[in-house]
C-alpha cells in the first residue's frame, strides 16, 4: 500500500485482533445503550447520524427528481417546499453538526491526548439520548404533515402563516441543540483537564485544536439559536408577539438571532473537517506538518471572527449601509485564517513523500472543493455581487461546496483513515479509491451547474423554472445520481470490512499520534499505562513508537 514511502514500519507477519477490546467488552443491549465508554458512544452516534444521512439523502433525491422537468409536474409546490425543508433540517441539524465531533471526535480526542475517557462520560451518553429525542420530535413533525418553512424558519411565515407542523420541529431542534452543547462542554473540559503527562497545548494534534475551537462555537452559539427557536415555538403555541409585525414584533430581529448561531454553525461543520485534513495530509506526505501553530491558531481565529459576520446573510433584508459595509469587511477577514490553512497544507505536501491511499484522495478532494466553496463565498460577502446572487442557486452551490465538498469529504476521509483503528480491520483499498473518485466527479457535476444557474438568475426553493434552465438542471440531477452511487459504495465495503476485513494491525498507516500506540480496536480503558509524551506532534522524521499494550 505504501509504495513510494519509507519501509512499512509494522511487522510483516499476519496481524491479529487483540484478545480484549472495547467492541467485545460486552454484547448485551445494556452494554451498548447504557455504556459510558466514549468509543461505544461514538459508534452509537455513527449509527444514528448515518440513518439521518440516508434519510436526508433520500429527500435530496426527491429534489433532484422534481427538478428534472421545468414545469414542476413531478410534485406540487407545497410538497416540494416540504421536501427541501426536510432535506435541509435533517442534513444541517442531525447530520452535519454532529457528524465529525460526535463520531470521530468522541472516539479520538481521549485517545489522542492520552486520557481514559472524556471528562464527563455520563454527560456524553446523555448527549446521545438528547440527540435521539430531538431527532424523534423532528422526524415526527416531518412525517405527520411536514414542515415548509425552509431550514431557516424565517418569521413571520413560520410563526403566523405556515400551515405545517412547525412547533414540533422547532422543539426537536431546540432539544438537539443541547446535545451539541453537551458535546462541546465535554470537549472543552477534557482538553483542559485530561491531557496525559507531557501533552502540552502545543503538542496536541491539530485535530484536537480544531475540536477545541469547534466546542467554543458550540458553547457560545448554540444557546442563542436554542432560545430563538424556543421563542418561535412559544409564538406559535401561545401567540407571544416577538417576531410578528402585526403586534409590534420585528422579523428582522429573528434573522439576526438565527444567523448569530447559524453562520458560526458552518464552522462547527467545517473546522473538525479541517482538523481531519491536517492529520491526514501530514501522514500521507510523510512529513511534519508545515506551520503547526499557524494552523492551530487559525482554528481559534475562525471560531472568534466567525461570530462577527452573521449579518452577511441579511444584506437584502434591510439594514443600514454602514452595518452592511462592516459585516462585509469582517466576512473578508474570515477568509484569511481559512487561506492560512490551505497554504500550510499545500506547503506540507511540498517535497513530501506523497502516497495516494483512500483517505488522502478525500484530502485532495477537500482542498479543491473547499477552495472553490471559499472563493465563491467572497462573491457573496461582497455587497454589490450579493444583491445579484442572493437567494439564487449560486448560494445553494456555494454552501454545498463548503458543507458537502468540505465537511463531508473530510468526514469520509477521517472515517477511512481511522476505520482500521475503530474496528481493527482493513477495507478494500481499490473500492475505496474508486468511490472517492466517483464522489468527487459526481459532486462537481451536481453543483458546478448550479453556480451557472444561479448566476443566470434561477432562484432557489422554486419547484418549477423556465425551460432554458433545463439542460443544466438535468446535468445536475445526473451528477447527483453519480454522487449517490459514490456514497453507496463505502456503506457496502465498510460494512463488509466490519465482518470479513483482514485485521489491520495497530498502526497500518505508519502514522504518529497516541491513538496509534494502542491496539486496534483499542481496549476499553484505552491504554494499559498512561502514556508519557516526549515529542512534538507529527514526528514523521522519527520512527513510530511501538504499541504500549500487548
Amino acid at each position: 500500500m505504501n509504495q513510494g514511502t519509507e519501509a512499512k514500519p509494522m511487522t510483516p507477519e499476519v496481524n491479529t485482533l487483540p484478545k480484549e477490546h472495547y467492541l467485545n467488552a460486552g454484547y448485551d443491549w445494556k452494554s451498548w445503550l447504557l455504556t459510558t465508554d466514549h468509543k461505544r458512544i461514538a459508534i452509537l452516534y455513527l449509527i444514528s447520524i448515518s440513518v439521518m444521512f440516508i434519510l436526508g439523502g433520500l429527500y435530496a433525491v426527491l429534489i433532484r427528481w422534481n427538478l428534472l422537468v421545468p414545469d414542476g409536474s413531478h410534485m406540487s409546490a407545497e410538497t416540494y417546499n416540504r421536501v427541501f425543508t426536510a432535506h435541509g433540517v435533517i442534513m444541517v441539524f442531525f447530520f452535519l453538526i454532529p457528524s465529525i465531533p460526535a463520531t470521530l471526535g468522541n472516539f479520538l480526542i481521549p485517545l489522542m491526548i492520552g486520557a481514559r475517557d472524556l471528562a464527563f462520560p455520563r454527560i456524553n451518553l446523555l448527549s446521545w439520548y438528547v440527540y435521539v429525542i430531538g431527532a424523534a420530535f423532528t422526524l415526527f413533525s416531518l412525517f405527520s404533515g411536514g414542515l415548509d418553512t425552509g431550514w431557516t424558519f424565517y418569521t413571520p411565515y413560520s410563526t403566523v402563516f405556515a400551515q405545517s407542523n412547525v412547533a414540533f420541529a422547532a422543539i426537536g431542534i431546540f432539544i438537539a441543540g443541547f446535545s451539541s452543547i453537551l458535546t462541546g462542554l465535554n470537549f472543552i473540559v477534557t482538553v483542559h483537564t485530561m491531557r496525559a503527562p507531557g501533552m502540552t497545548w502545543f503538542r496536541m494534534p491539530l485535530f484536537v485544536w480544531a475540536h477545541y475551537a469547534t466546542a467554543i462555537i458550540q458553547i457560545l452559539g448554540t444557546p442563542v439559536v436554542a432560545i430563538t427557536i424556543l421563542l418561535v415555538a412559544l409564538e406559535r403555541l401561545f401567540h407571544f408577539g416577538f417576531f410578528d409585525p402585526a403586534r409590534g414584533g420585528d422579523p428582522i430581529l429573528f434573522q439576526h438571532l438565527f444567523w448569530f448561531y447559524s453562520h458560526p454553525a458552518v464552522y462547527i461543520m467545517i473546522l473538525p473537517s479541517m482538523g481531519v485534513v491536517s492529520e491526514l495530509i501530514t501522514c500521507f506526505s510523510r512529513k511534519r506538518i508545515f506551520g503547526y501553530s499557524f494552523i492551530a491558531m487559525s482554528s481559534m481565529a475562525i471560531a472568534v471572527i466567525g461570530f462577527l459576520v452573521w449579518a452577511h446573510h441579511m444584506f437584502v433584508s434591510g439594514m443600514s449601509v454602514y452595518s452592511a459595509m462592516i459585516f462585509s469587511a469582517l466576512t473578508y477577514l474570515v477568509a484569511i485564517p481559512s487561506a492560512i490553512k490551505v497554504f500550510n497544507w499545500t506547503a506540507t505536501m511540498f517535497r513530501g513523500s506523497i502516497s495516494w491511499e483512500t483517505p488522502m484522495m478525500y484530502v485532495f478532494g477537500f482542498i479543491g472543493l473547499f477552495l472553490i466553496g471559499g472563493l465563491t463565498g467572497l462573491f457573496l460577502g461582497n455587497l454589490g455581487t450579493d444583491v445579484h446572487l442572493t437567494d439564487t442557486y449560486f448560494i445553494v452551490a456555494h454552501f454545498h461546496y463548503i458543507m458537502v465538498g468540505g465537511a463531508i469529504m473530510g468526514y469520509l476521509g477521517g472515517i477511512h483513515f481511522w476505520w482500521p483503528k475503530i474496528f481493527g480491520r482493513k477495507y478494500s483499498e481499490w473500492w475505496g479509491r474508486i468511490s472517492a473518485v466517483l464522489i468527487f466527479v459526481g459532486f462537481n457535476m451536481t453543483f458546478l451547474p448550479q453556480f451557472l444557474l444561479g448566476y443566470l438568475g434561477m432562484p432557489r426553493r422554486y419547484h418549477a423554472y423556465p425551460e432554458e434552465f433545463q439542460v443544466l438542471n438535468v446535468l445536475s440531477s445526473a451528477g447527483a445520481l453519480i454522487l449517490g452511487i459514490g456514497y453507496l459504495f463505502p456503506s457496502l465495503y465498510l460494512a463488509h470490512s466490519m465482518v470479513k476485513g483482514e485485521p489491520a494491525g495497530n498502526n497500518p498507516w505508519g502514522a504518529r499520534g497516541l491513538e496509534w500506540e494502542t491496539t486496534s480496536p483499542p481496549p476499553a480503558h484505552n491504554f494499559d499505562q498512561t502514556p508519557v509524551v516526549e515529542d512534538e506532534a507529527y514526528a514523521y522524521d522519527k520512527a513510530p513508537k511501538e504499541a504500549v499494550v500487548a
Binding site: F120, L185, I219, V224, I227, G241, F242, T530
Partner: protein, 233 residues
C-alpha cells in the same frame, strides 16, 4: 453538572481521573462552561429586550409601571438571602460539617420555594382575568385576550405593551424554570451530605451546585430592574 461528579460506589474518585484534584478541576470548569452557555441562552432574551425597550420606550414604561415593584423587591431580597445560605452551605462543606451543610441547603430550598410561591401569585393575578376569574379586567397574557386597558396608555401604544408582557413571561418564566430544576438537585446534594459523602477533601458537588444557584440569582438581579423599575425614574 453534579451528576458527572457525584461519587460512585467506591469512593468519590471516578475511574477515568488520575486523582481527586483533577476530578475537581474538571467538575468546576464544567460548571463554568455550562454557565457560559447559560449566559448566551439568556443573552438572546436580553438582546431582544434591549431592542424593543429602545423601540417602544413608552409601552415598556407603562408595562413596567404596572408591575408591583414591592413584590419584586421582596423576591429580590429572598433570593439574595438564598445566595447567602448557599454560600454558608459551601463554607460548611469546606469545613467538613455535614449536618450544617444539610441545614444551610434546606434553608436555601425554603427561600427558593418562597420566591416561587410569590411568583405563583404574581402570575395568577395576570393570568386569572383571561379565564374570567379574579378581580375584574386586565388579562396580561399576550394573545387574543390581552387587555391593555389597565395600563392606561394611548390607543396606539397599547398593542406594543404586549411585547413587554411577552418578554416578562418569557424571561421570568425561564428564570423560574432554572430554579425549579435547581431545587431538586440541591435536595439531592443535601441527601448525599446527610449520608456523609462529603469531606473537606471532596465536596465539589456542593461547590458547583452553589455556582449554579448564584448564577440563577444573578440573572434575577438583572431582571428585577429591567422589568420592575423601568417605569419608575
Amino acid at each position: 453538572m453534579p451528576e458527572a461528579s457525584a461519587p460512585p460506589a467506591q469512593g468519590p474518585l471516578a475511574h477515568h481521573f488520575a486523582n481527586l484534584k483533577q476530578q475537581k478541576h474538571a467538575a468546576v470548569l464544567g460548571m463554568w462552561v455550562f454557565i457560559a452557555q447559560e449566559v448566551l441562552f439568556f443573552g438572546g432574551l436580553f438582546a431582544t429586550y434591549a431592542v424593543y425597550a429602545m423601540k417602544y420606550k413608552e409601552a415598556f414604561e407603562a408595562g413596567s409601571g404596572h408591575l408591583n415593584w414591592k413584590i419584586g423587591f421582596f423576591n429580590t431580597l429572598v433570593l439574595i438571602a438564598s445566595s447567602l445560605t448557599m454560600a454558608m452551605g459551601v463554607h460548611s462543606a469546606a469545613l467538613g460539617r455535614s449536618r450544617r451543610i444539610v441545614g444551610w441547603l434546606l434553608a436555601t430550598v425554603f427561600l427558593g420555594t418562597v420566591f416561587l410561591g410569590v411568583k405563583y401569585f404574581e402570575y395568577g393575578e395576570k393570568i386569572a382575568p383571561c379565564f374570567g376569574m379574579g378581580a375584574g379586567p386586565g388579562c396580561l397574557v399576550p394573545g387574543q385576550l390581552f387587555d391593555a386597558s389597565v395600563l392606561h396608555v394611548a390607543a396606539d401604544v397599547a398593542p406594543e405593551t404586549q411585547i413587554f408582557y411577552s418578554l416578562y413571561f418569557a424571561m421570568t418564566g425561564l428564570h423560574a424554570l432554572h430554579m425549579i430544576v435547581g431545587i431538586p438537585i440541591i435536595l439531592w446534594i443535601a441527601h448525599a451530605a446527610w449520608k456523609g459523602r462529603y469531606s473537606p477533601a471532596w465536596h465539589t458537588p456542593v461547590e458547583i451546585v452553589g455556582l449554579y444557584w448564584h448564577f440563577v440569582d444573578i440573572i434575577w438581579i438583572f431582571l428585577f430592574p429591567l422589568l420592575y423599575l423601568m417605569g419608575r425614574h
